[in-house]
Symmetry: C2
Subunit: 219 residues, 2 copies
Amino acid sequence: MEKKKKFAVLLAGCGVFDGSEIHEATMTLYAIMKNQGEYEIFAPDIPQHHVVNHISGAEMNESRNVLVESARIARGKIKDLAQFESKDFDALIFPGGFGVAKNISNFAFEGVNCTVNPETEKAVKDMVQDGKPVGALCISPAIMAKILDKPVLTIGTDDETAQALESTGATHKKTGHGEVVVDPKYKLVTSPCYMLDANILHIAEGADAVVKEMLKLLE
Amino acid sequence: MEKKKKFAVLLAGCGVFDGSEIHEATMTLYAIMKNQGEYEIFAPDIPQHHVVNHISGAEMNESRNVLVESARIARGKIKDLAQFESKDFDALIFPGGFGVAKNISNFAFEGVNCTVNPETEKAVKDMVQDGKPVGALCISPAIMAKILDKPVLTIGTDDETAQALESTGATHKKTGHGEVVVDPKYKLVTSPCYMLDANILHIAEGADAVVKEMLKLLE
């Protein structure tokens, strides 16, 4: 029997408005197992930028930790991203959610002048250096435009975000539900998911399509 | 075109150890849409029993609200359970997680002598009264043994929990991954999910099987 391909899944909290988008994260784990892969989950041990009440949208007077909150999605089976080593994995994948743009980068506030969490940047660069595929859903491709030199990617159809990313030299391709863009140079696979007006069926479809393309790149 | 069957999904927080189990909740939403249903999400506006660090298992010195945290899974589209009316729905379903046994009941602490959140109890009783199916995953069937008179149900294979439930007059049937028990008297559909040593594929299978049986009861 062929050895299962091992994915690292990088989370950025727990909840669309201040962490990882929960449906995208869950459907990513599901897609990996459904396609005969296996996974370990990582998150950086850093404070969240803020905590958002997901009903009102208001900031709450609390502080939470990205690793501790991500552990909710991981059912406790999670590692500090500081322990990530590219040699242990075949592929690396990022679900979306504002946590990607608020916690593991500050793209939500600084746009393309953002900085990216150093452990996250190192994880992506090490995988690319090793010729291993990196997947990014929803808003996650935005940090790839910062980490990599002029990648080809998609965040769906949002012109403002697409133009911002193109201003870094990245090439943006418009996509619909479940569609993926593959950049063969970096083995970067992206799909818009909830960057479009999507439902949970579209998210399952998008996550599955990204994982399948990543596995093709490993054949 | 036939009108879509409308499910109410009742959440109890966000995270397996102090709220709703995230994979079960997400896979329940997915199963509903995949089977041509639609859903609205509810949770009671009550404090969580406690907040658990999902890495260490330790209680955290924080307080969180069940409705506000459940909104993370619902992406903000959630209603206070006080607004639930059985006439608006064809079916009611409960994902599992300790929130069911700590927040919307105290089964985790009091066992079969537990009390159940009154709005939750009313929602179940109203649906049963109206002859509409109720689904319960994982540990959720435990509260059905309290709310209903001698139902037939499953929580998987855990003898201690099964015996506790049978002490109320309920009939417990052992089940494996993806298997469901249907009690035709109450139109109660149960499946063990993470009450077994399960992975996310089993959860998707279990949620899908419960939703399909509930839809059969609506034919």
